[in-house]
């Protein structure tokens, strides 16, 4: 009967994948969003073959053993960091990163968060923030206070902020050698796990007056959705077939 549980695990994986696709599609219009994908592979392969080789009596040709070794996994999730489409907005405080890198913001619990969503705003203290009020940080990790008295704010392509002709500060842009290790926090933020350190980008290329759209491609997601749904259906059919086989076995032995 273990086949039923194997199929069940695989079906749970498809269910999770479906949630992920729904999340990608729910964020098709989210600034700076990066789509998530999933990878499936066989889970217990390594441990069981280790066990089998430790046990000289084990017969590798035993079909049951081989079936045991490949147990389906829940999908591993990864984030696709490809750049989303840049679109012009004309707003002073919108800025997109062309190419590699992240803005640094004050994240939850004092941690530094990383984001590519550059729809900036100002708070009551005149500090640059994300739309939901998290402070942006400069290269030194300090909030960027802006005095807008001198004139309209302007961001230069290398990240410096001007009010009129007065330089007010500079946006901190950092990059990671392996952005795949970053953990999504939600609210547009990524957090770096312990041991993963960013390196500053000395000469970032920014696009003021533009925003980076979501990198979700709705067509690809629809294809994945159909896949997930059909695989799930097939898995349910397999459960039913296995059930019928068991029933026949019971009938035959009675």
């Amino acid at each position: 009967m273990k086949e039923v549980y194997q199929v069940l695990t695989a079906a749970m994986g498809q269910e999770m994948r479906m949630t992920q696709i729904a999340n990608n599609l729910a964020n098709v219009n989210t600034t700076g969003f990066k789509r998530d994908g999933s990878v499936f592979f066989d889970e217990l392969h390594a441990s069981l073959s280790a066990q089998a080789s430790a046990d000289p009596a084990a017969d590798p040709a035993d079909p049951v053993k081989i079936a045991d070794r490949t147990w389906p996994s829940l999908p591993r999730t990864y984030t696709d960091f490809s750049t989303g489409p840049l679109r012009e907005t004309g707003r002073d405080l919108d800025v997109a990163i062309a190419g590699d890198g992240f803005f640094q913001v004050q994240g939850p619990g004092g941690a530094t968060g990383y984001t590519r969503a550059g729809a900036l705003a100002l708070n009551a203290e005149g500090e640059l923030t994300t739309p939901d009020g998290r402070r942006l940080l400069d290269q030194g990790g300090q909030p960027i206070a802006v005095d807008a008295e001198g004139g309209p704010l302007r961001i230069t392509p290398d990240g410096r902020i001007f009010a009129g002709n007065d330089e007010q500060g500079r946006l901190g842009v950092v990059r990671f050698t392996e952005p795949g290790l970053l953990i999504k926090h939600g609210e547009g933020l990524l957090l770096a796990p312990a041991g993963v350190e960013p390196e500053p980008v000395e000469a970032p290329t920014l696009r003021p007056g533009a925003l980076e759209g979501s990198n979700v491609n709705p067509i690809e997601e629809m294809v994945r959705m159909i896949q997930a749904q059909r695989i799930y259906e097939t898995q349910q059919k397999m459960v039913r077939t296995l059930d019928e086989l068991t029933q026949k076995r019971i009938e035959a032995s009675s």
Binding site: N29, Y78, A121, G188
Partner: protein, 261 residues
């Protein structure tokens, strides 16, 4: 099935997006109107299995399993770009070229701020908005002066030529904010200051950072119909596509429920 609620957050986000686009389009002809824009964010991620845990002997999960739970609107930002100019030839129509708001005294004595410079005169000759609220500081035009003779300079000086001599009747001033995006729109083309906007900084038009005035012009809405319609198509399709997630998740649940005959 989490996919159902995840997709529902996507639909709710896009519904708000459409509501906002409808409001922008309804104000495509409103003088001094500034369009709003919804900024979206992804919701929290559920950690099914953290990265770095052990998967089996001698292996470590490099990335873990994190499931996103949908999207939410983070803010509706007012986009304070300059609207188009409309020439009106009305002497009391004013346009602010650059940053700055006219300060208005509301009936309850509090201040409000507007970019809509279509002023009129009340029975006492004071400059008021179309709703009769006083421009502050008050500019009074004496009864014996024809409105057509009024001159309003780019720096806000209101003057008239009397017996060959220019006479100054008052100075129009503008208000600027450390963070104009933090102003709260209260309708009727008015904004009020909030903690986020900071207090109003009153100054002479044309001074450092302040815009200048143009007499005989009005600032139109900064809504671009084409842009809003494109946004509407995107929002509608995004809504539709999240509804497909719901259908698919529903069908999957149906299949599962048919397992047991």
């Amino acid at each position: 099935m989490r996919a159902l609620s995840v997709a529902a957050t996507g639909m709710q986000s896009q519904q708000l997006n459409i509501d906002n686009i409808a409001h922008n389009l309804a104000n495509v002809n409103t003088g001094g109107f500034k369009r709003g824009r919804v900024d979206f964010q992804d919701l929290l991620y559920q950690t099914i299995r953290p990265a770095g845990t052990s998967a089996s002997v001698n292996t470590e999960v490099p990335t873990g399993i994190y499931l996103g739970l949908g999207s939410r609107p983070a803010a509706i930002q007012k986009v304070f770009t300059q609207g188009a100019y409309q020439q009106t030839e009305q002497k009391l129509d004013l346009l602010v070229e650059g940053e700055g708001f006219f300060q208005i005294t509301r009936p309850d004595g509090s201040y409000a701020f507007t970019r809509d410079g279509a002023f009129k005169l009340d029975s006492q000759g004071r400059m008021v908005t179309s709703n009769g609220e006083l421009l502050t500081p008050t500019i009074t035009i004496p009864n014996d002066i024809k409105v057509d003779d009024l001159m309003i300079a780019p720096d806000g000086t209101v003057s008239v030529i009397q017996a060959g001599q220019p006479t100054t009747l008052g100075n129009i001033q503008l208000a600027r904010f450390a963070n104009q995006g933090g102003l709260a729109p209260i309708g009727e083309n008015l904004y009020v200051e909030t903690q986020a906007s900071g207090t109003a900084n009153i100054g002479t038009p044309g001074a450092e950072g302040f815009g200048t005035l143009r007499q005989g012009y009005l600032e139109m809405s900064n809504v671009s119909v084409v842009e809003e319609l494109v946004n509407m198509i995107v929002a509608q399709r995004a809504y539709e596509i999240s509804s497909k997630s719901i259908t698919a998740a529903d069908e999957m649940m149906q299949v599962a429920s048919q397992l047991k005959r």
